[in-house]
């Protein structure tokens, strides 16, 4: 059993303080979502305010049924299909890119920053640019190509960084060749 010195007690107090902070932080980040979730079980006459007026699955049933605002089933399916296609393309691209990036090549710096800028380009800019570009060219925008294209731009940096890390682990014992790439991954 460790001896209880003033130093040790001070450390424990600091740690306890930080733990309380962590708990408050979680409540701040998750609280509103849980409140919303609870409210989804409102009775038929209730709105998005507390206190609850009864408990029911009324609103959940409403969601499943047809409505004028939007059909939840087809939009869910569409989201799911889009997510799967984006996932597959991102996985293929980032694996290929990470293989290429094991060695430095001409333009690798530029390409690296181009991939990373997907993390930083806000949706409103990219969507505006692409939508007006498509309008000029005369192609109507659609979720399965322009939407898909932009989504891959956003997901590519994540997949790429993960695959870089994976490849660098493979190459770790093969010498300093991988070091260049690894340092950049660590940076992010």
């Amino acid at each position: 059993m460790a001896r209880s010195t003033p130093e040790r007690r001070r450390k424990a107090r600091v740690k306890a303080g930080f733990s309380v902070y962590y708990a408050i932080f979680l409540i701040f980040v998750y609280g509103p979502m849980f409140a919303m979730f609870t409210l989804s079980f409102q009775g038929p006459r209730g709105g998005v305010t507390f206190p609850m007026r009864g408990f029911s699955f009324y609103w959940w049933e409403r969601m499943m049924g047809p409505s004028s605002v939007g059909d939840i089933k087809s939009s869910l399916v569409r989201s799911l299909i889009l997510a799967i296609i984006v996932m597959v393309i991102t996985a293929i691209f980032s694996t290929m890119l990470a293989m290429a990036f094991r060695k430095k090549f001409r333009g690798s710096g530029v390409l690296f920053y181009a991939i990373m800028s997907g993390l930083m380009v806000p949706g409103v800019l990219l969507s505006l640019g692409l939508a007006s570009l498509l309008r000029v060219v005369g192609i109507p925008a659609g979720w399965w190509y322009s939407g898909l294209g932009v989504h891959v731009v956003w997901t590519l940096p994540f997949g790429f960084l993960v695959m870089m890390a994976v490849f660098n682990r493979f190459d770790g014992d093969r010498g300093g060749r991988a070091r260049h790439g690894r340092r950049r991954v660590d940076g992010f």
């Binding site: 733990s19 962590y22 932080f25 181009a114 806000p122 060749r177 992010f188």
Partner: protein, 334 residues
Amino acid sequence: MTTVENYARLTNRQIAARGLIGGAPAVDAAAEAERKYSREPGFPVAILIAPATIWLVVFLFLPLLSIFIFSFWKSTGHGMTPAFTFENYRAFFVTEGFLDSKNPDFLTPSIFIRTLWTTFRFTITVMALCLILAYPMAYFLSMQVEDFKWQLSLFLLVMVPFWTSYLIRAVAWLPMLGRHGLINEFLLDIGAIDEPVSFFLYSEFSYTMALVQLYVVLAVGPIFFSLAKIDKALIEAARDMGATPFQIFREIIVPLSLPGVAIGMIFVFVMLMGEFATAVVVYGGKTSTTGTVILNYYAIANYPFAAVNAFMLMLAMMIGVTVILRVVDIRKEL
């Protein structure tokens, strides 16, 4: 290994290499091995990078380039025609009566500049709050939690909201902050207020609060990684040499975590500048950000003017990111 041994080994390898390639000039074996292993198994680099590069050109480079080009085109009321006019930029910077001293709008910046300024002001406030909240969190996770498993799971618990839609999280503030929201009910219950306060929702308060909640996790991640990378032996050494906890924090931890802080702040800055949905949801559209202005002009089919606003927003972002990179030289720190 002594130099002699080393030399002997090298010579042996060279002999072996020479034996393999017959009468060709002597090649340093190590260099040759390096070249051999450096070659990608099967695929040339060009083929590996081509699809992704084309994708990025079509869906990232071209859209951003076209924003710049369209900002000089002419709006026709229902679309645009190719032109080279600065009319859109004039409308962005200057209102009609800007130079007319009798006009009430004399020398007043245009609404669009003021909107960009408001967007920037909110961004700076929220960035500061995010940093204040995120740094202790990252510090706790990296320095106070010793067990790696705990560290990882507590970190992931904080980061999970990052993978949920920010629109959902913005909408989720409504039942908290409304006139009959949780905060009002709570304050009524404890008797702090007599009647519901409407100040919580559709105000600067709700907007700032929602933005902090939405983007604080973006700051926690990078700061956590840079703090976790700090060699614990360095801190031990400083302690052994008699540094106080505050000195250790100021002299070692803060400077070494700066790259993480910079990256986190860049993420938060860029996301906040491009923000458009949250203002509508929790600010009730009472004020607009440049993001909402862009969408509004897009909706009424004035694409060139939307493009001007977008380009100015992009410019402001680049300046902001450059400033952050000036303060902290990430490349040097890595």
